[in-house]
């Protein structure tokens, strides 16, 4: 990050952090586990595991209803986690945080609301070429339902969004810009400040897909002035099946209910139902309470780490991995954006990504291979797939060395 280059940053105690993650002590194929698939999902620290376990052992009850003591406990844990998440994003108030099943559901919630109330034939939604399928398909569905059109802003060869094209794409009929803060396939950090400035200059709201950015980049929704922000707990050291949508109060209040059921109502008769206030209006049914408790623990875990030191550490890892991989004959890194975080995607002349993944796995090195749910990016580079190493706070230079050494094994078999 630009700021961290100006100030001396405290170093990250990687060994100490590793000790928080029990799974990292588990050997794979007789080797030390080198987990480099963090962009798919991160491992969970003992603080998160214990919070979930403790919830079920000591506080389990349904929330927001019964008058008994346990229900009060559970409700407080649930709503405290909402405050933790709001703080994590620097939201104005906890009511601007809706718990969802994950980033995908958060985006679908907004897309559903837009399709039913804000979009019509001729209207446009603008996305970028960098998007994960989860920030493409909900908008395609919304467009199909409403007659609106999806416009796609291209990226250049480095993997950066072409800002002039973005400016040109936002027009009279643009109803929303939906953009990733960080590409899961290439690691590109998008210039959110400029994107939001361009969109707001034309009174167009912006939804930020922060699934990848959340564990790596500080997110301040007030400083960004984004209108919606979606992310998942499991990519930031929390449990699977839980995530959040941030939305400005006025926008959240204007969205129609997403699902109907218990929890989301104020009163129900067969003639008429009135809905609960935000955010509960969007949380139909008994929620994933344990997941929310784990999410809160993950947010607190990450917030307790010096984020500048973490960013500097992960940037140094990307730089070191780039240096080591660039030195391997026949290997080509895909995506060299001006600003990148935590992801190195690559292809090899010698072997297909899938073969690379299998060979590395036998060394205990876990990477992702495939299209990374971002097929348009693969098409943009004319490749069917890449191998991707993605870093988390417990990764060190030794992990990059294991990756590079494993790639030498690929050359031994396929060279």
């Amino acid at each position: 990050m630009a700021d961290t280059e100006l100030h001396p940053t405290p170093s990250l105690d990687v060994e100490g952090l590793r000790a928080d993650f029990p799974i990292l002590a588990r050997p794979v194929h007789g080797k030390r586990l080198v987990y480099l698939d963090n962009a798919a999902t991160t491992q969970k620290p003992v603080q998160v595991l214990e919070a979930i376990d403790r919830y079920y052992r000591e506080s389990n009850a349904n929330i927001h209803r019964s008058a008994h003591w346990l229900a009060e406990q559970a409700t407080r844990l649930y709503e405290d986690a909402r405050i933790d998440v709001a703080r994590f994003l620097n939201a104005r108030e906890a009511a601007e945080i809706v718990f969802t099943r994950g980033c995908t559901e958060s985006i679908n919630l907004v897309a559903h609301g837009f399709a039913s109330e804000r979009l019509g034939p001729g209207d446009e939604i603008v996305v970028s070429w960098l998007e994960h399928h989860s920030n493409i398909v909900p908008w395609q569905l919304a467009c199909q339902r409403s007659g609106a059109t999806l416009r796609v802003v291209p990226i250049d060869d480095r993997g950066d969004i072409v800002l002039e094209e973005l400016a040109a794409a936002i027009g009279e009929r643009t109803r929303l810009v939906a953009i990733s803060a960080m590409s899961n396939a290439l690691g590109t950090i998008t210039p959110l400040d400029e994107v939001i400035r361009l969109a707001h200059a034309r009174d167009v709201p912006v939804l930020v897909d922060a699934a990848q950015a959340a564990p790596h980049l500080p997110l301040d929704v007030q400083a960004l002035d984004c209108d919606f922000l979606a992310f998942s707990a499991h990519k930031m050291y929390g449990p699977t099946g839980i995530g959040a949508l941030y939305a400005k109060r006025s926008l959240l209040e204007a969205l129609p209910p997403y699902q109907g059921g218990g929890e989301m109502i104020a009163s129900v008769t067969f003639e008429r139902t009135t809905y609960a206030e935000i955010p509960h209006r969007f949380e139909a049914g008994t929620p994933n309470i344990a997941g929310v408790v784990g999410f809160g623990a993950a947010v607190r875990y990450l917030s307790a780490i010096d984020r500048d030191a973490l960013a500097a550490h992960e940037d140094a890892l990307v730089a070191y991995a780039t240096e080591r991989l660039d030195a391997i004959p026949g290997l080509r890194i895909v995506g060299r954006a001006r600003r990148k975080a935590a992801v190195v995607s690559f292809v090899s002349e010698l072997a297909h990504p899938h073969d690379i993944g299998t060979i590395l796995d036998r060394d205990g090195v876990a990477i992702r291979t495939g299209h990374h749910c971002a097929q348009p990016i693969m098409d943009r580079y004319g490749i069917p797939a890449t191998a991707r190493a993605s870093f988390g706070l417990y990764n060190g230079r030794d992990d990059v060395d294991a990756l590079a050494d494993g790639l030498a094994g690929v050359a031994r078999i396929f060279g």
Binding site: H352, H354, D355, T358, R362, G370, H371, P384, I413, F414
Partner: protein, 152 residues
Amino acid sequence: MSELQDLYQEVILDHNRTPRNFGSLEGPHREADGHNPLCGDRLRVFLRVTGDQIEALRFVGSGCAISKASASLMTDALKGRSTAEALRLVETFTAMITSAPDTPVPDGIGKLAALAGVREFPVRVKCATLAWHTFKAALDASSEAAGEVTTE
């Protein structure tokens, strides 16, 4: 390292490097597309059946070493056979590749035995079977309409 050596045997690496019967087929033929969305493997299998005999069998596409070698070995193994024989071999091969790793490899499958190492790598089985599923789809396809299969 030994399981990796079983997987990437010289026969596999050779057919991956220089796939046999690679390219499209001119003239009347049937074809089908095979797609493994998980890893992006794409194959197109072309065949010409004269009477009851598979007279020509070719493929194009891109994919991992296992999917390419399997497609190449398949074209060699099925070309010239009767359709009934070919379908029997498809069954034998599919049963072999999805069997437990320590199951004996059936007799009479020739070079296809080289693919038995895939059994130690369950996530790679789909790579090895893609061409075979696609072959069956091509056989079922009429000459007008191309079929499509996916591993998902």
